[in-house]
Amino acid sequence: MSHLASRRSLLLGSLASALPACDARSSNGAGRAAFWYSYGGKNREVLERLLARFHADPRRPRIDATFQGDYFESLAKVRTAIAVGAAPAMTHVVSEVVPYLAEAGALEPLDGYEGAADLDLVPEIAQSGTYEGGARRPLLAIPFNRSVPIMYVNGTMLERAGVAIPRDWGELRAAANALTVRRGAEVAVWGFECPVSWLFWVALVASAGGRVVDEGGTVTLGGDAGARALDLWQTLTHRDRVMRPPLGRDYNAWQVGTQDFLSGRAAILWSSTAFLRYIEENARFPVKVAPLARDHRHAIPAGGTFFVLLRAAEEREKRAAWQFLRWMTEREQTMEWATSTGYLPVTRAAITELARNGFYDAHANDKVVLGELGSVEPWPWSPTLFRVQREIMDPLLEDAVLQGTNAAEALAKGRREALLP
């Protein structure tokens, strides 16, 4: 038994060292907090840079930042972690899911935290402007990386084809047709590319005057406007064949769109302002942005995420996390975040300073993005909003555009599904 026993004790020793570390100890007494975040690439670099700067002051708490994959995977982990008692103190979640988490009691109310009242946030993208009645509710979410959908155009291609930047759906269709380049049966350049997903469909619906969830909380999926929105995509994809059919799920589709645009395989791209910096830096042609082509009106949802603190975490951790959160909303940090990534600056002080120091004069595209703030339409405060997005709309949209099924029928089916337990 001896050699087995010694082997076991060796392993038990390593076990002890490999067990999750107790977080009671912290190097400076200011505490630690776990922060789960979820985007990689350039944005991750910027976040890590900011974290390093935060930690440069030894009096500040340590933030243990863990990368958890994309938004949806991270959200899944957060929700299950809450349920099994392993929740982090802080994370960031897409705006659609905040009402659900709030109603489930998962979010920590922030009104009582030091300095919460004077954060000077840009209202359109803070809780107050993002949700109907958001200002009346307890403060639960602080904007982090907020974006709007925007239209990117390849300046060279449009000029060469003599096409102006489209302003409405009709012009969009004409432009896409003019810009598509075919080589035999294959398409060499797609006139129009857009991730077939929730955010852009909601934008189309809002533009057509519809609401996804009505004031009473019933899931209407935009009614007629919803069907017209879906139909636009189907027309462009199947009848005109100027829009690339959906590829990949969730953020894979967004990535493919970006890559296509950068490599000259797509002339017009609908995507997020989140990619602005990346696209500008990597394009080998002039990139112009413009508001999405509209139908009746110009109204867009805002995308991106909010910081939240999780109620289930320990008090000490939450307070430590709040210090980081508040630091992130200071003018310096919000300016750096916005200018390095392309997300909107979340404080008014940041916008004022950026206007003052000539940033917007030097960056025409960012100015256009800023202008879109006026058209942001709030979400309904509906706990089912997220389920509608994930379980009903994203699969429905992908399916309907791939197969070309009748838009009104597809949405009617979706409305029925929304009623299932």
């Binding site: 899944a76 929700r79 299950t80 349920a83 988490l101 009691g105 894979n252 379980e391 599904e417």
Partner: protein, 288 residues
């Protein structure tokens, strides 16, 4: 043998039986119970009876998971059998080259599914993957192997075949080595050519191995998860939504514990039946 002390056997078995019961039997009771409720882990449960099963059936999710898994398994099993047999016949010879190639093929079975999935994602990328480029170079159509709903499931199957062919090959090789050479000599003396020798000597002797490979590959296919999660996440348009991934999606992405439990129960019953078949074969082989 009589035990030295009366309680001896129970003490010897206690740790094993406790853990097995706790982690392999009790879960089915838990799943059965949870499948009757609607629960999102954050708010209290609600009892809804058999609604979950009904919803899964009506939304087509149950049928789709089953169909996809069946189609995928059919391809993987046939592929593993054919390729495994072909490789075994080819490489059942002495020499360093054969030994080296056998190792190379078998090594794919030993590495992680994650490694294989990531590697083939890169190789098969619709635009920049080297396999895609090579295919175009030799005149095959340029397909988005993982992004085309018609092809994606079969792409996953081919990747899996690449990984497990080595396993099938090893089993067939063991079977081949059990065939006494005198049988071949006798057949040759009777004037049988290589094809006839295969049909009359080799294949009958390999049938048990083939059955074994078939059932093991079938079970492995039904348990497939990693390739789906990493390469396609069940898409495009649910084309690659296999059973285990469907369960994972229900609980971790949709947070519907009830539906996930219902799927778990159905899946459990399915796999239990398949594995029972394999066990009978295992004991049959041990006996021979």
């Amino acid at each position: 043998m009589k035990p030295a002390r009366r309680h001896e056997p129970y003490l010897l078995l206690a740790p094993t039986l406790t853990l097995l019961t706790l982690f392999f039997l009790v879960p089915f009771l838990v799943a059965a119970r949870e499948s009757l409720f609607s629960w999102d882990l954050l708010t209290p449960r609600t009892y809804i009876g058999l609604s979950n099963y009904r919803t899964l059936w009506e939304r087509g999710e149950l049928g789709r998971a089953f169909r996809n898994t069946l189609a995928y398994s059919a391809v993987v099993v046939s592929g593993a059998l054919l390729l495994g047999l072909a490789l075994a016949l080819l490489l059942d010879r002495k020499g360093q080259l054969a030994a080296f190639v056998r190792s190379a093929v078998f090594s794919a079975y030993v590495v992680s599914w994650v490694a294989v999935a990531l590697l083939f994602m890169w190789l098969l990328d619709g635009e920049v993957g080297i396999v895609t480029r090579l295919a175009v170079a030799v005149g095959l159509p340029k397909k988005n192997w993982l992004g085309d709903a018609d092809v994606a499931l079969y792409t996953l199957a081919v990747v899996s075949i690449w990984k497990i062919a080595g396993y099938a090959m090893i089993v067939f090789l063991a079977g081949l080595q059990d065939i006494p050479p005198v049988l071949y000599e006798a057949a040759a003396l009777d004037g049988a050519g290589p094809v006839l020798r295969f049909r009359s000597v080799t294949w009958p002797a390999l049938r048990p191995s083939a059955a074994f490979v078939a059932t093991t590959s079938l079970i492995l296919s039904f348990q497939a998860f990693d390739v789906v999660r990493i390469m396609t996440q069940g898409g495009p348009a649910h084309a690659t939504e296999l059973f285990v991934y469907a369960i994972y999606e229900q609980i971790f992405l949709n947070l519907r514990v009830g539906r996930a439990s219902a799927l778990t129960l159905v899946f459990g019953v399915l796999v239990l039946s398949l594995t029972a078949l394999q066990l009978r074969l295992l004991r049959g082989r041990e006996a021979t």
